[in-house]
């Protein structure tokens, strides 16, 4: 029984470690991005963003608006201030995107929609030519 439990623990640890290794770059990017957002360092955030930044509303019919660096500060504020529905275990809550980013210190496997594609609620990040970038923002309205 003990040996089985130990083996299961080792397998679990190995899986977690492997996952962490595979996604270390994304995690490093996320930590920098999060810090920059919390410190309101828009220049740093912009340097971690693909321009023009693709922004769209909820449904397919909403127009896609592409923002250049010039208009980035305004749309960034709007994206961060908007409310989103998030779940944490069994709780479902409404928070601002800023609060979501503040609360999210680590990326998890469920954030990876594809190996090079991460979603944190209404922000999308892609690894493009070896570099992780903020590529899309969605608006609730």
């Amino acid at each position: 029984m003990f040996i089985r439990a130990a083996a299961m623990t080792l397998i679990l640890l190995f899986s977690v470690t492997s996952y962490a290794d595979d996604n270390q770059e994304a995690q490093t990017y996320w930590s920098r991005f999060r810090r920059a957002v919390l410190d309101h360092e828009n220049e740093t955030i912009a340097s971690m963003t693909k321009f023009p930044l693709w922004v769209r509303g909820t449904v397919d019919g909403d127009p896609v608006i592409c923002y250049s660096r010039k208009d980035f500060d305004l749309i960034l504020k709007r994206l961060l201030d908007q409310q989103v529905v998030v779940s944490d275990r069994d709780r479902v809550e409404i928070k601002t995107m800023l609060q979501v980013i503040k609360d999210k210190k680590q990326l998890t496997s469920s954030d990876f929609r594809a190996p090079n594609h991460v979603r944190v609620e209404l922000f999308r990040f892609d690894k493009i030519k070896g570099t992780w970038l903020l590529t899309r923002g969605y608006l609730e309205e």
Binding site: T58, D60, Q83, I94, R113, R119, L122, E141
Partner: protein
């Protein structure tokens, strides 16, 4: 329905106190079937939180909001319903959260499975899939949906429902878009929906009442 006000007594007052305890943050009301000053204050607080005139009298509008489960969700710590005991399809839908469209020529096979439940049988995850998602979730629990990819196909399906967790909500925007998803809750400013093709994935989303209105809520006929 007889409006309940200060001085009222009886089982309906007890029921009101249970509802208020469920929907309000803060101190819990004693369920004593007596409508006293504390119950009146709680009714006013609830009315104000959901945008009903705060007169402290539990009339038709207040009961309607309480029974529909309308909550003030501006308080971020207030939990929203995650599921409904009589809507097993919500559990199915919740498990799908995060299924997302893929870029370019690639299509998420899971979304194509959703599409396979409609007569359109689309082969691209770029084709609107909100109705397909609702059809698929219902099918997983043995309920036949509309088999249509059109959100409006749900308008006369099943039976009419009040807006409650698990009801199928058919929404229309002032820009002319129609959407279908599962209702979770409603706040003063938003409809809270769980659905597919919301920001290109399965997720819970807020639909602002400034731009969206509900065309109807439906419930399966068992």
């Amino acid at each position: 329905m007889i409006p309940l006000r200060i001085g009222s007594r009886g089982p309906e007052v007890a029921r009101l106190q249970v509802f208020l305890n469920k929907h309000l943050q803060g101190p819990t009301l004693k369920v004593d079937a007596v409508f006293g000053p504390r119950t009146e204050a709680a009714v006013k607080r609830y009315q104000a939180s959901v945008g009903i005139g705060a007169d402290g009298i539990a009339g038709v509008k207040t009961w309607d909001a309480l029974e529909r489960g309308v909550m003030d969700c501006r308080d971020a710590s207030h939990p929203l319903p995650t599921t409904s005991h009589n809507a097993p399809w919500l559990i199915v839908a919740t498990r799908e959260i995060g299924q997302s469209e893929l870029d370019g020529a690639m299509h998420n096979p899971r979304i194509l499975r959703y599409h396979s439940t409609t007569s359109l049988r689309a082969t691209s995850d770029e084709v609107p899939w909100c109705s397909a998602f609702v059809n698929w979730c219902l099918r997983q629990v043995g309920i036949a949906g509309t088999n249509s990819a059109a959100a409006r196909s749900w308008l006369h399906w099943g039976k009419a429902s009040v807006p409650m967790a698990g009801a199928i909500a058919i929404m229309h925007s002032d820009k002319g878009d129609t959407h279908v998803a599962f209702s979770l809750s409603e706040t003063r400013d938003h409809f809270v929906l769980l659905g597919g093709n919301q920001h290109d994935e399965v997720r819970r989303s807020l639909y602002g009442k400034r731009h969206w209105q509900s065309l109807g809520y439906r419930w399966p006929i068992h």
